[in-house]
Symmetry: C3
Subunit: 342 residues, 3 copies
């Protein structure tokens, strides 16, 4: 386990995927087995029987305990061995590491660091997700063969949409609009306003605007692995830049990133919007996001390959990098703060 | 060539697969070309022409000599170069290493160590294989992406059948029955008896028992790479545990392992049984073994992957490990005995 | 970038494949993006934007400049950054390395070394390629998973055709005919004559000979990566060995090798012959060469695998190796001459 932040809640998988059956996952280069007890609680353990290292996910649930598929050694929800077939004495070293788990916003969150520090009250939350006046739609778990901080760069970066997402989230009107950023408590905000410009394709489709709009992008990056992108548009002249959002379309695009290993991450994305829509419109919205994030995936994977080829290459910095540089410094400080215990 | 025992006869391939044609094999990380001479003798050479290293298996047989497929350099059965096209003088360094070979029990056995020590009289034999009162059926060559000693663990381990092979070789009756083991000359025996229990699926199918049976499993591991599993059942009360086997069903399941490299081995398996059967019953028996060994393969390959991920992890030992620990110490002593010459 | 000759013109790709669109290539372990300007000139740049390392081949042409697909940074034909969207100041470090390019014989040639030394007058040329009395036919770009010098060995080696190419370029008549070689200025010549023998399959098909022929093979290897094989036949007794070639069939088989990395090269092959032929005959000739070079590919890839397995194995040298040994010494001297600047 190398340079990851440990003492934080990471998104691991969608709650909808975890039932009373064993499933295997990888995070921070660790293998984890997950299941939901008969009482509905999600349990996470290291996915290796301490006897021969067979993945426990290849075993069976016996009630709420896991029976290893090789010799039947059985572990309860706390990871304690409660049975060794053929012998009465259970070795004291026969236990499996478990990880604190909490569910919120349709996701299972895991704590890979010091369990004593795991406070469920600190799991990330977006209030609008639970607000009936808003509408939340879960997306996919998109695997990207790239370091999670390269995806994080992309999520502190309103500028790329003008070049990467021309069919969905961006258009040429914003190419030269400057970007601002600042660090706030535990997060980095990067934003820009595009004033009096045609709506982007996604808003043209769903916003029913008559003329030009004022468009905002606020990228909130909650280090180390969560992004909430608040973007929206209002008709030009209605005062959106000054804070009035009465007649606007607004979407929170959320990205919950699982760092799998140094070259792989999973982007669990969902969106929360300030208007109701039927299943077909929701599916259309998700399809548009799917197109956009697949464009990011293509770019991030190509960058990852070139970084592997050119490990010592110094890159050029430009103005729009300020947000991602702030984010990387913030993550670095979180790591450094953990160094003495690691 | 790292930590393998060298001075021993290893099974390499089925005799049935070796004719008057060149075939390529790998054992102990070495490439070997094999063929049968016109007179019927099996020849084994390193599979690399000493000129440019082209595999000789890509060449042609000229009588009993191999002609390299690149420039026609030709080697006789002793590995000596007998022709260099375009020149009369044959360089003294132009020879190919050959390996002692012996055939027995339907297999080609190879000696990868010091040829002076290769005694064909020491090739493994099971007398019942040749006894007309018994019936032998050859199985497959099952490639397993696991170290051969992990497969060996499995073959010193009667306990796993109660959890891994429920549809064929095991049942729940034996889950808690203790296992015994001891080292004998050059081999390790691991065994257990299951008294007065329902027959396992394989014996229920072929044994025509009316009630419960006494079942034995004796796992003989001939280090470093041969296992013979003597297992059978007799009706409870007929004295099998005391040594009477008059009315029993008994099968020797033999495993002849080729260590290919540190992460791969090939299990050549066959079975010899104390009853005659027609082709259909033999095929059914082989099909059942095929199911069981494929279950082992799945488990051993998953363990191998976890061992690669967790190279320094100390594992927990339980009572049923005594047999495999004895086997590993025996193999280790065989290696150490070779160290001065290696 | 390890042990390659740098200051030389390397073939990179067929001119026919380069239009006004971005294509990605690899040579000497470097990534290169290629395109043809609106004016018809071929431009080559390192295939990585200096900002985030996204391959520029994933961007767009804006006129003759490349716009990066991530943030729109734009580079002109000299590699100079001419636009950074969102800011006026262009960082002085924002430039992309370009490579000298020249086209000849249907190929794009690239200079990976010191640009100041790149003299287009030194790009390889075969005068007959341009001579209307001769007939040139372009072949393929054959990828071979082998070090380019192993392919070079093969192209300094008339002897292998008697064993590898029996259906096309060789026959048994030449098995024992000795090979000669000498170094000339910047190249190695390896040759042999086969006197008064049946024509090889290719010449039997196209040469309409009545009886035996005198056949020559002159392999010219222009270090480090070009081979021209002058081979032909004339009826025996018409004086070909003495220099008369009036009634002969003669073909220059040219191999233009791109070293991709230590285990991969691309053989761009074409042939130039002293007789005219219709499209069908040309296609038949190319098909025959395709068969022959595919035979070489099979052999060279097997050798490469064995070399990786046996890195310290000393090989046996025989008489026919003299040509390839001369070639390798010549390449080695070219490298050594570059060492002080490298």
């Amino acid at each position: 386990m190398s340079n990851y932040v440990l003492n934080t809640w990471y998104p691991l998988t969608w709650s909808r995927n975890v039932g009373h059956a064993l499933t295997a996952h990888q995070i921070l280069e660790q293998q984890v087995v997950l299941y939901r007890t008969e009482g509905g609680k999600v349990i996470a353990m290291e996915d290796a029987c301490p006897h021969r290292l067979l993945p426990l996910s290849m075993g069976k649930l016996r009630g709420d305990a896991i029976e290893c598929g090789y010799h039947g050694m059985t572990y309860d929800c706390s990871g304690k061995c409660v049975r060794v077939p053929g012998q009465d004495l259970i070795p004291s070293s026969a236990f499996v590491r478990t990880y604190p788990i909490h569910e919120n916003m349709g996701l299972v969150w895991i704590w890979m660091g010091d369990p004593a520090m795991a406070d469920p009250g600190k799991v990330f939350d977006l209030p609008q997700y639970h607000d009936p006046r808003w509408s939340a739609v879960e997306g996919d778990a998109l695997e990207i063969k790239a370091n999670y901080l390269n995806l994080a760069d992309n999520l502190c970066d309103p500028a790329h949409v003008s070049f990467v997402h021309l069919s969905t989230l961006g258009n040429a009107a914003s190419e030269d609009v400057p970007v601002h950023s600042e660090q706030q408590d535990g997060k980095v905000v990067t934003w820009r306003w595009v004033i009096d410009a045609p709506p982007i394709p996604l808003f043209a489709k769903h916003g029913h605007f008559k003329g030009n709009v004022d468009r905002w992008h606020y990228y909130y990056y909650h280090a180390p692995s969560i992004a909430v992108i608040d973007f929206g548009s209002a008709e030009t002249g209605t005062g959106a830049p000054e804070g009035r959002r009465d007649n606007c379309i607004q979407i929170f695009a959320c990205h919950f990133i699982t760092p799998v290993d140094q070259d792989t991450c999973i982007d669990h994305w969902l969106h929360v919007k300030n208007f109701q829509a039927d299943a077909q419109v929701n599916a259309e919205l998700s399809a548009d996001f799917r197109v956009a994030f697949s464009e990011d995936k293509t770019i991030l994977e190509a960058i990852q390959r070139n970084e592997r080829r050119l490990p010592s290459r110094r890159t050029v910095k430009i103005a729009i990098d300020a947000g991602s540089q702030r984010m990387r410094r913030l993550v670095e400080r979180m790591r450094e703060a953990e160094a003495p215990t690691a």
